[in-house]
């Protein structure tokens, strides 16, 4: 039996008058990797931006419906608190260019003015970099700028930065789409490794990647949730015709 950590109930999301998510009902299970799959423009990014309340920052954006984190309505909590509990990694690596690697990892604390002792900082930095598999590569250079790293390393730095806040959920928006195959497989292994400590929602275009790393898959088409289920089952016997067409490459 799976533990539900996040429950999305009848979610509609809009940009102005354009409705980009339609009556989405979805449950995310604790310590599992859930893939959001679907063709370009179907609303994958919008969905995860609703989950950490980034969506509302876009001009004219609004939502209807409910998102519950462990039973608590996210939209009744301060957005800043929500974003500390639900971390996000973006499509393009975006370390803070003016900060060192060390400061990038604890950027969440620095930005919000949370005071930490030197020991606490060191501990968080080391733990987060170990978790994101970057420690051995950067431990000698913690006080260099993060922008000197390779694209894949920058992305893992961003993962470390999100993990440093000890989030309950980690949202990954096509985290490997800007990376080469080697860097991609490093991150895929990392996602599997992270299941022990965090729940992951992964947006991807890459069906192979969804198959390799995810336990569950939600397939979206034109803003609607078409099918949800165990990745292995959906990829072998899809219930919906649309899913099948997408999986064999007919659409998208």
């Amino acid at each position: 039996m799976e533990n539900i950590i996040l429950k999305i109930i009848n979610l509609n999301a809009y940009y102005g008058n354009q409705k980009v998510l339609k009556n989405v009902d979805l449950e995310i299970y604790e310590n599992r990797v859930t893939t959001i799959l679907g063709p370009s423009g179907c609303g994958k990014t919008t969905l995860i931006r609703c989950i950490n309340r980034l969506h509302e920052l876009s001009p004219g954006a609004r939502i209807e419906g409910q998102i519950l984190l462990k039973g608590e309505d996210l939209y009744q909590i301060e957005p800043m608190i929500v974003r500390q509990k639900i971390g996000m990694v973006f499509q393009k690596p975006n370390p803070f260019p003016t900060m060192t690697i060390y400061d990038n990892v604890i950027a969440g604390y620095i930005l919000s003015g949370i005071k930490l002792s030197k020991e606490e900082k060191d501990k968080i930095v080391e733990e987060s970099l170990i978790k994101s598999g970057l420690w051995d590569e950067v431990k000698e250079n913690l006080f260099k700028k993060g922008t000197f790293l390779s694209g894949g390393q920058q992305q893992r730095l961003c993962i470390a930065r999100a993990l440093a806040m000890k989030p309950e959920i980690l949202l990954l928006d096509e985290p490997t789409s800007a990376l080469d195959p080697v860097a991609t497989s490093v991150i895929e292994e990392l996602i599997i490794e992270l299941k022990k400590s965090v729940t992951t929602v992964l947006v991807t275009h890459n069906i192979g990647q969804a198959g390799r790393v995810s336990d569950y898959t939600a397939f979206f088409y034109l803003g609607e949730l078409v099918e949800f289920g165990k990745t292995t089952e959906m990829f072998t016997v899809p219930k919906s015709k649309k899913t099948e067409e997408y999986l064999i490459g007919k659409i998208g």
């Binding site: 974003r83 975006n94 370390p95 260019p97 919000s112």
Partner: protein, 287 residues
Amino acid sequence: MRKDKVFKIILLLSGFLIVALLSGIFLSLVFSSIPSIKEFGINFLFSKDWDPVNNKFGALPFLIGTLLTSVISLLISIPFSLSISIFLSEILKNKLISNIFQTFVELIAGIPSVIVGLWGLFILAPFMRTLQLKLGIQPIGVGIFTASIILSIMIIPYSASIGKEVISMVPTEVKEGAISLGATEFETLKSVTLPFSFNGIFAGFLLSFGRAFGETMAVTMVIGNSNKIPDSIFSPGQTMASLIANEFTEATTKLYTSSLIEIGLILFIVSMLINILGRLIIRRFKF
């Protein structure tokens, strides 16, 4: 094909012309300064006597006047242009309104400086006089501080507009990175957006400093035109530019003219350096 070539040659020639013009101005300034350089040497920069009757010339009061007015006007302008650029780039989410605002700001920069000077003379100076009376200072009205206020009004549009551009160039992903970690918009601005655009904002201030440094007409009208070293920021004074504007028609002897031109040479070199530096920083920021 032929037309292309002709066009290219014309472009090349006009490019050369610009370079020739610039070097021509520079060289003629140098040549005309030679008598004064020969007579006073490096002491020209450190002597405070400006005495046409006895043919003694020193630039110190004007160097000080120029530095004082441009530094004070820069200091006055910083909080205003910083707020304007943040307001236009980050707070006003509506692009159209922001652009209309920016156009207004830039229109201020287009006001002929003699008009700004008139305003300073007839509105600001009397106001300063009242203020000085209240503060118990000798009520002159015009002076270093009045000129600085006028200058700051003239340079705010420059630095604000450059600041707006560079702040707008901070990538959305980087800002959202901060927001996604739980930072507020203010914290993001303070710790991510502004540090990211620091060099560009700095260059904007440098360029506007360069403007203040060389501005002539408006300053000449409100600075009080005294050739002594000012003893307070409310005293009348003189900048290099206002001195040249004031005294060029009176310069009768060769040495007098040459000294004025040497001051022009100093002004030219410093303004050039400030401009080149500012442009270099902005260029590096963009790539």
